[in-house]
Symmetry: C2
Amino acid sequence: MVTIKDVAKETGVSPSTVSRVIADNPRISPDTKQKVREAMERLGYHTNIHARNLVAKSTKAIGAIMPSSANKALQNPFFPEVLRGIGSVIHERQYSLTLSSGETEQEILEEVQRMVFGSYVDGLILLYSRVEDPVVAFLEERDFPYVMIGKPFDRLEEITHVDNDNFMAGKQITNHLIARGHEKIAFIGGSKDLFVTRDRESGYLAALADADLPHHEDYVIHTEFLKSGGKEAVEQLLSLPIRPTGIVVTDDLMSLGVLSTLEESGVQVPGDISLVSFNNVYLSEITRPALTTVDINIYELGAQSARALIERTVDKTIPPKRIIVPYTIIYRGSVKEYP
Amino acid sequence: MVTIKDVAKETGVSPSTVSRVIADNPRISPDTKQKVREAMERLGYHTNIHARNLVAKSTKAIGAIMPSSANKALQNPFFPEVLRGIGSVIHERQYSLTLSSGETEQEILEEVQRMVFGSYVDGLILLYSRVEDPVVAFLEERDFPYVMIGKPFDRLEEITHVDNDNFMAGKQITNHLIARGHEKIAFIGGSKDLFVTRDRESGYLAALADADLPHHEDYVIHTEFLKSGGKEAVEQLLSLPIRPTGIVVTDDLMSLGVLSTLEESGVQVPGDISLVSFNNVYLSEITRPALTTVDINIYELGAQSARALIERTVDKTIPPKRIIVPYTIIYRGSVKEYP
DNA sequence: CTGTTAGCGCGTTCAC
DNA sequence: GTGAACGCGCTAACAG
């Protein structure tokens, strides 16, 4: 391994001078810099991060924490996409990205502790937002830099987070259905404990209220993500005396399940029932019909969180902030004028 | 930050003793160990990896390298799934996982160099296999531990890699179609430069030959992954004077495109055309009809590669090996007896 | 502008 | 069984 000393010897300067050249210290003469850089190149010098980190107390690395049920979570195209966003800025800033997951909550907490205490990383991105998350508690207690994708359970103003305006998105996409003549609109969401669900649901309700449309409790269903959930939800909906003509689904993956169950039941989409969805994951343009869905800009969610985090790790005094990533509605074939 | 010295002071022993306790050195008396461990606990000691790595020359970290077109690649559910597999053993062995990607080939090569030279990681997993990969060349030249998922371009015996028996899988799944009475069977694969495609195609051809079925060149189509490719392929197939009654598709994602295009064209699956696919990504049970597909055990692909890599990093003298992960055929609804 | 010195936190001799 | 001393590769004062 070529060290700073080797380069120093080769150039006839001291190790610290070489170090300064690496840091591009302005007080080093251009000549020396030139000379040293040539030698580094020639010898194939590369700085050893561990030596650097040991003294510099900064790792230029950040960690991404997966939800505990990494099992199911990673099935959602959402994650690769956030990772892609995070990766892009990580790469651009010459940082490293450490991925961390665990089967249980306890495991992931331990992982996080290991990373924090061992100073593996300068900061953490939480790829999920849970109620009463011990990881958050730990991070807060240690005052360790982190940002969260989604909405914090509490202390909204104290935790830097990156989110969409899910209320507005929910409202707007519901309005789309209303504008197309639909009056009996159902809502299928994930767990009530998730803020995404809550916010989108509130938006949905607001849209109904604004349009003076009645709100049937039977039309709001909370279920698990993925097919099973989607199927159950649809079955419930179809068994109702008065079927909805439009459905708002909070996740493309769920929509997939909804779609297939609908088709199995001989219900045409959008002929009999119109569907709008969320996320605009690649799936949504592949289904038949392609989904009208809210593009929440997952990539940006990742990129912004990485930016915010790096900012914070560089300057710890930067106050926490909330970043709202704009959404766009992508109109495709799953909605039809009613009747 | 609590260091080894603090613990030493607290316990009244020397730093080296503490160090030995951490390493669980057998020559330390149980009493001292007990005492020291209590102090570590009490003080909240955690070893600083950078200091450790600096002297130990091992990082207990491995890196996963994404394909250069991380853009598209991450859209395939394949990746999250391998990552999940890798993550599980990483976690189990208390290693860390660093994710690395880049837009261009050049960028990813630079990333790899940075990781290798800066001794960020003990080894690397290549999540893709490309022809004439400069990354492989670099790694070989430096004799840096790595394993590849898929099949190496050359030097098969010198590169540790984890793969499926794609030839047999291709043959067997084609045989399934044949056994169900199909004789006009088409093949839709990805780029010819990919070994996955080649191997599966060879298997397909072998099955045809074994059954004395004629092989039409028009029935073999190479195209890009994802919808566009799938659509084009299907369009070509449908325009043929004699349409196939069965199709072998090498990727579930492609199958999705194939399916939808078929439906758009009013062709029933499996009524008119039967479909078999590869990967058994969650998608395949969601589509309508659900896909009969080869489960290549992506998770295992990841887990095994991580195991093999860690083994190699621990003992560099371990000879390269090829690991074949078994596949299973999952029978679902996309195949029907012909006629 | 540049060299010298002194650690960063830990593991590893080599003594005792 | 345990301590003292040294060095891993690098950066950061302090000199000059």
